[in-house]
Amino acid sequence: MSEQGANRNAEKGREDIHKAASHDGMDEARREFLRNIAAAGVISLGGGLTLLTMGGGEALAKKPEEPLDPKKRWGMLIDTTKCSDGCQKCVDACKQENGWEAEPNSPHDVQWIRKVNVKDPATGFMMSLPVMCQHCANPPCVDVCPTGASMQRADGIVRVNMHICIGCRYCMMACPYKARSFVHEDIPEEEKRFHAPMGKGCVTSCDFCAHRIDVGKIPACAEACPEGAMLFGDLNDPNSELSKRLREIPTYRIREDLGTDNGIRYTRLP
């Protein structure tokens, strides 16, 4: 399949998911249809490597009253070979979706995702990659939180329960990935998003766009990536595109030595 054709298919897949998500009574047949559409959205990548632009097949809508599925564990594979130095699309999409705005290098602004530029001083090799909450299976932030506000959903998403966060910031001390921010001041009403509450005096971080996942969409960053470098899916489902891809190619996690079992993997790390 040509790359252009694959992109068209991917676009079509996204539109279908959006439409499907708006109807609560989505039956299994339509889910199957979506899986097929998503599977068709394959993009040929350089060097014989292929990734899906989206894992819509895994993120199916659930009704609000339905409990989360503990059999799932959401994760992501980021193809860092596709990630260019100047590209900020994933960051911009996250800002737009979740309503945060950060001045570069501001010590106080909230940041859910950032591009990190890494250079090997011994060789001069340079690369750029997005870093956000790694949605660890053994999250230090959850371990240290005194009230349980820093929590892990049944489907593996790590997030902050804004209602019981007391703002002690111990999770920020414990997170190895600098993934959390403290809301240092009031956020203007017009910037607030209902689905991404950020209250002055509380800690906040990437929640994998849980509000999107729960209605069958994929995280905003993954959807916005023009290179299709972010493959989102269910790590526990051996048949998910993500799991299949992870079986095929070597992948790496940031600070794997810490044993936090990150849900985010990278095709290449510096």
Binding site: Q111, M173, F182, H184
Partner: protein, 414 residues
């Protein structure tokens, strides 16, 4: 024959009320500073997304460490049976609770949401050392009050549990400081922390901070109320302070020596301890120079045998050196960036890879001083309303051996 000590309330004097009002004003300013921080958000402080714990935590952690050490004075009398310390037990217990209360006040008022304190008291994550510390702090108050009750009760059926309560309080304080040290020692992601030595190091620090704080307040109360205070007793406490100060410094040396041995930590040790930045100065000049070596000279000096001044100066320096070290641990430790990619150079719009700057703001300092003032104010009020301060601490009353200079002479002969 067992000597019975008499304890009496502080006298109402101009000096007493001046001190109490002064502490009250400082405490109110501290609370006002906290309100200012809460109203505007932490953006008005020097704290950032990198230096998430700032000056309030320096004061709070110093006081919390010191609180458990203040109780040692009582333990030395009760658990270890040292006669000269026995009349100090009541003051020690009250002061320990007061200093802990001051520290906790700072910690709570610095929370992003202090209005949710009830959440911290009702929702516990038992995997969190922070949550365990909440139990340990509350338990400390309970155990210390029980200990005080066994000391002050007129009922012999209660007093007979005095040793048991004192032993429980001593064990509890050891566990409490282990918990405080582990808040840092268990932070696996941060290179400057992540060491088991933090728990025993904090215990050693508590011994020295606590005794120094106790000596300062004890001397102030006794002198302020014009009660006899023996040089022999103060000298003896000063020499013990010397041992504690040396032990605390020993653990900090073990800390950086251990990290220096591991190649991965060498850049961190170089940055914090040997780069000549503000943190290196705080450690070497503040803690080692002023807070360790100077007190050691002072407490073992000849003049310390005939005057309380060298020991009081040594205690003051121990407190200053202690605050320097806590600042070094908390702020310095956070200023070293998290290492996401070992051995690589990193940069981002979120300050990855940078050494983080921090400038303490006035509200933070005022909140910290407010907490200290609350601790002193509680001691002042308690000394005025409870019989906790002995009428005399003259050497002849405390321990006849001290009065005759027997101990000093024996040492000289040896």
């Amino acid at each position: 024959m067992k000597k019975r000590f008499h304890y009496e309330y502080l006298q109402a004097s101009v000096g007493y009320y001046t001190a109490l009002i002064g502490m009250g004003v400082l405490a109110l300013i501290g609370v006002a500073a906290a309100y200012y921080m809460e109203h505007h958000g932490h953006v008005v402080t020097g704290m950032t997304n990198e230096i998430v714990w700032g000056m309030p935590h320096v004061f709070a952690v110093f006081l919390i460490i010191a609180a458990s050490g203040v109780l040692n004075v009582a333990s030395i009398g009760t658990v270890f049976g040292k006669t000269p310390y026995k009349p100090l037990g009541r003051l020690s217990a009250v002061m320990a609770a007061a200093v802990l209360a001051g520290g906790l006040m700072i910690l709570v008022l610095d929370l992003g949401r202090p209005d949710r304190l009830i959440v911290a008291m009702t929702k516990y994550n038992f995997k969190s050392i922070f949550a365990w510390n909440i139990y340990l702090y509350n338990g400390f108050f309970a155990v210390v009050l029980l200990y005080l009750y066994t000391q002050m009760s007129q009922d012999f059926r209660v007093r007979r549990y005095y040793t048991a309560a004192g032993t429980l309080a001593f064990l509890w304080r050891l566990i409490l400081t282990t918990g405080t040290g582990s808040i840092f020692g268990w932070l696996v992601a941060r290179q400057p922390y992540d060491l088991a030595v933090f728990a025993p190091m904090f215990i050693a620090l508590s011994f020295s901070f606590g005794l120094a704080v106790f000596i300062l307040l004890m001397v102030a109360l006794m002198k302020g109320d014009e009660r006899p205070l023996g040089h022999g007793l103060v000298n003896r406490m000063g020499r013990l302070l010397g041992v504690f100060v040396a032990a605390a410094a020993y653990f900090t040396v073990v800390w950086w020596l251990t990290d220096l041995y591991a190649a991965e930590h060498r850049p961190m040790v170089g940055y914090l301890f040997f780069s000549g930045n503000v943190y290196s100065w705080l450690y070497w000049l503040g803690f080692i120079g002023l807070g360790t070596i100077a007190p050691l000279f002072l407490v073992f000096s000849r003049s310390a045998r005939s005057s309380v001044k060298p020991v009081v100066t040594a205690s003051l320096l121990t407190v200053l050196g202690g605050i320097s070290l806590v600042y070094f641990i908390i702020i310095g430790g956070q200023s070293y960036p998290l290492v996401l990619f070992p051995g690589k150079q990193v940069s981002s719009t979120y300050n990855d890879g940078a050494f983080y700057a921090y400038a303490p703001s006035m509200p933070e300092i005022l909140l910290g001083l407010g907490g200290m003032a609350v601790a002193v104010a509680i001691v002042l009020v308690a000394s005025k309303t409870l019989r906790i301060l002995p009428t005399t601490l003259a050497d002849a009353d405390v321990d006849p051996h001290l009065a005759t200079g027997e101990v000093a002479q024996m040492k000289k002969a040896a």
